[in-house]
């Protein structure tokens, strides 16, 4: 029987004063007497953030990240749920591995973990995974993230089959023949540095293909980490046609451009790559006009050794869980591109109403702080934002009624319910 009261907060939509009572993992009308209290001091109380695109790296790549460290980072970033990608070693393509991830998350996790199963066995693009069994085991979607399904015929079958299992397919859109040996966006910076480029069309031609396959099959297509102006246009078209297609983008695409690669900075290497200034502006426009359905981080931790290599040899990916909210507030809300309410809507579908799970995030939207990668809870330090001054701080994260992250400055009365307790 755990309970908690968050007192003196402001409602994320209305700004109205809000005291939130929590009991047994749910938001309730009134907490039991004597429940511990957390003084929000006027901070914004929002539903817990959700990140649909995270690489937790387990099984098999625990030097980069573990379910324990990745979900700890998620909690620190204000997230109460993440969906984790199946490009682990081995790939999450069987019931056994989906169950394993869920059991690790129950034992060591600090937020809800929703595993995403592979589309094809070993993400090889050859044989379908058992979508029905994966769905029953707890997979929330299918994806061959990191390795696109290059065969249109195979993708058609995957969409048809997954639709019956009521699973969306999260599409990593990249034509590998157009990418070639590319390691960054094709443009002047790549030309200057003598690095092979990845044209924006490598993404967009696959987006267009999968939109047509959604039309053909009735399957549910979710377009992962969109980065080009033309991809957003394709998503707009799909929505106009009423197709079951949705799309996501990441903070680095509205914050940075390919110039951030500078002189071979591997911290600015990810896939899709940082694009042109026009693409960055188109990202913001697509967010503003509602083309983008949700924000994700594509949190992709790597070891320092792996990133401390010549640019072409270093792996793609940056961490994002612990910087996402601040980059949203600093680069979308503060410049006036988006209201804080709308920005938070793109990070969560949870509800702040009695009867709903007590997954909430307490935010000081004005607090200024300096991103310091050495203080991340993630094992990954690979961020291009290290040292940046940003606004917007997560003061506390509550998942299933338990405190999963609390800023040291928070005023607390009584013993806060720990997450381990809520898990048990």
């Amino acid at each position: 029987m755990s309970a908690l009261v968050i007192r003196g907060a402001r409602h994320w939509r209305t700004g109205a004063p809000l005291d939130l009572a929590i009991a047994d993992g749910l938001i309730v009308d009134r907490a039991p007497d004597g429940a511990p209290e957390l003084d929000a001091k006027g901070a914004i109380l929002a539903p817990g953030l959700v990140d649909l695109h995270v690489h937790l790296r387990e099984p098999g790549q625990s030097a980069k990240e573990t379910i324990a460290t990745g979900t700890r980072a998620a909690a620190a970033g204000g997230f109460t749920a993440v969906a984790c990608m199946p490009n682990t070693d081995p790939v999450l393509d069987s019931v056994a591995w989906i169950e394993w991830v869920l059991s690790r998350a129950r034992a060591a996790g600090r937020c809800r973990v929703h595993p995403i199963g592979a589309v094809t066995l070993g993400q090889k693009g050859e044989t379908l995974t058992p979508a029905h069994a994966l769905a029953r085991a707890g997979a929330v979607a299918l994806s061959d993230d990191g390795r696109p399904v290059m065969s249109a015929g195979m993708m058609r079958h995957a969409l048809e089959y997954a639709a019956q299992a009521e699973l969306p397919i999260v599409c990593h859109e990249e034509d590998l023949t157009l990418r070639g040996e590319g390691v960054m966006h094709e443009g002047f910076t790549a030309t200057r540095l003598g690095l092979r480029g990845i044209p924006g069309a490598a993404e967009t031609v696959m987006v267009r293909r999968d939109v047509e396959l959604a039309a053909l099959t009735g399957g549910r297509v979710h377009l992962a980490h969109l980065s080009t102006a033309e991809s957003f246009e394709a998503l707009r078209d799909a929505k106009r046609r009423g197709l079951a297609v949705s799309g996501e983008t990441c903070p680095h695409y509205w914050t940075l451009t390919d110039e951030s690669v500078g002189d071979y900075d591997t911290r600015a290497k990810m896939n899709p790559p940082l694009r042109s200034a026009a693409d960055r502006d188109a990202t913001i426009a697509a967010i503003q006009d509602g083309t983008i359905d949700c924000f994700v981080t594509d949190h992709a931790p790597h070891t320092e050794e792996e990133k401390r290599q010549p640019f072409a040899e270093a792996p793609f990916g940056i961490v994002g869980l612990e910087t996402a909210l601040a980059l949203t507030i600093t680069f979308l809300v503060e410049p006036g591109h988006l209201s804080l309410e709308r920005a938070l809507e793109l990070w969560t579908d949870a509800r702040l109403e009695p009867g709903h799970p007590a997954d909430v995030t307490l935010i000081d939207a004005d607090a200024e702080w300096t991103i310091d990668a050495t203080r991340f809870h993630s094992k990954g330090r690979n961020t291009p934002f290290d040292g940046w001054r940003v606004h917007g701080k997560v003061l506390a994260t509550v998942c299933a009624g338990a405190v999963t992250h609390a800023d040291a400055a928070l005023a607390v009365r009584g013993a806060l319910p720990e997450f381990a307790e809520a898990r048990a």
């Binding site: 790549a190 030309t191 003598g194 690669v261 071979y264 911290r267 401390r308 300096t370 040292g387």
Partner: protein
């Protein structure tokens, strides 16, 4: 937005390429010609001409770098560049060791960085490096306490080649670069020679026109500061010189070109095309040449050809670069 200055990663964005050095211990590096000042280029070329005089005078050898150890770390095959560096090091009296791509500990799984840390531990002061991957010299400059000289990194730069090309053109152009125009023909996209030449020539005030098959032109190449001509004839008309780039056979295999014959017919330097240039214009090629493909034999061996002057100038240029890295004075050994 401010960036923190302390970083465990190499080459922070915006770091100067030449000087002021960003490296550990303030070493001098030659990582590329991009962002090297006009003064620095002129200084290196002046020094190179002094070394050329010394070399021309007979059996010259200096002991100016006698206390300096140099390592030639060639992770990619090379004949002319490696021999030229080794001879320059010996002419300046430096101690030197070299290794090539075969038989190094890299083939035993050691990382590039560890291999070069081992050499640094042997008190090597200057590391001359060639690597297939663009940015390796900049990466090493951020990680090692040694001067790094780029002897060719992937498709990025080959700055000593760029300097010897400038020296060769300076001879042909009476050291006047303003108002001159060089045409560069061929595989610009994959050419480190072209990038260094464009950077050096534009810094000295010359114009550069590039041309080649669309599949071999990099994105936004104009932003490097050059013009793009639609045909080789357009590029050559009225030019003060031309540089043909080597055409790699892999370009056919990766579907970028139909055939050598088509390339030679459309882009090759033929005697007829050469005549479109100014009468005193010169012909260059970084080598190794595919005679009959990017350059006709009679052009390679013709009166306008400076191909072998280029290789001859490599030695004094490398003397100047090594002396500058070791002492801060490019003429120190002259």
């Amino acid at each position: 937005m401010e960036r923190a200055t302390a970083s465990p990663y190499p080459a922070p964005a915006g770091a100067g390429f030449f000087y002021p050095s960003t490296a550990v211990g303030g070493r001098r590096h030659l990582l590329g010609l991009e962002r090297v000042s006009r003064e620095a280029i002129v200084d290196l070329l002046d020094a190179a001409r002094l070394y050329r005089e010394r070399l021309a005078a007979g059996r010259w050898r200096s002991d100016a770098l006698a206390q300096v150890a140099v390592c030639n770390a060639f992770f990619e095959d090379s004949t002319r560049t490696r021999c030229s560096f080794e001879l320059a090091e010996q002419r300046l009296g430096a101690m030197h060791v070299s290794f090539g791509p075969a038989g190094t500990s890299v083939s035993k799984g050691e990382t590039l960085l560890d291999t070069l840390r081992v050499l640094q531990s042997m008190r090597v002061e200057i590391i001359v490096v060639r690597h297939r991957s663009a940015g390796v010299p900049a990466f090493l400059a951020g990680q090692l306490d040694a001067s790094i000289v780029n002897a060719g990194d992937g498709e990025h730069e080959h700055p000593t080649q760029g300097l010897l090309d400038l020296m060769t053109l300076g001879d042909a152009w009476q050291e006047r670069f303003d108002g001159r125009r060089l045409a560069i023909v061929g595989d610009i996209a994959h050419s480190r020679v072209a990038r260094s030449a464009i950077a050096g020539l534009t810094t000295l005030g010359a114009e550069v026109t590039v041309c080649g098959p669309a599949t071999l032109l990099p994105a936004d190449v104009e932003a490097l500061g050059c013009e793009v001509a639609p045909t080789v004839e357009d590029a050559l008309s009225g030019a003060d010189g031309v540089m043909a780039l080597r055409l790699q056979k892999e370009r056919m295999e990766s579907g970028l070109l139909p055939s050598l014959g088509e390339y030679a017919a459309t882009w090759g330097l033929t005697p007829e095309r050469i005549r479109l240039m100014k009468p005193e214009a010169v012909v260059m090629h970084p080598g190794p040449m595919n005679r009959g493909v990017e350059i006709a034999p009679e052009v390679a061996d013709g009166a306008r050809s400076r191909v072998f002057d280029q290789t001859a100038n490599g030695l004094p240029v490398r003397c100047a670069v090594l002396a500058w890295c070791a002492t801060g004075d490019a003429k120190a050994a002259a």
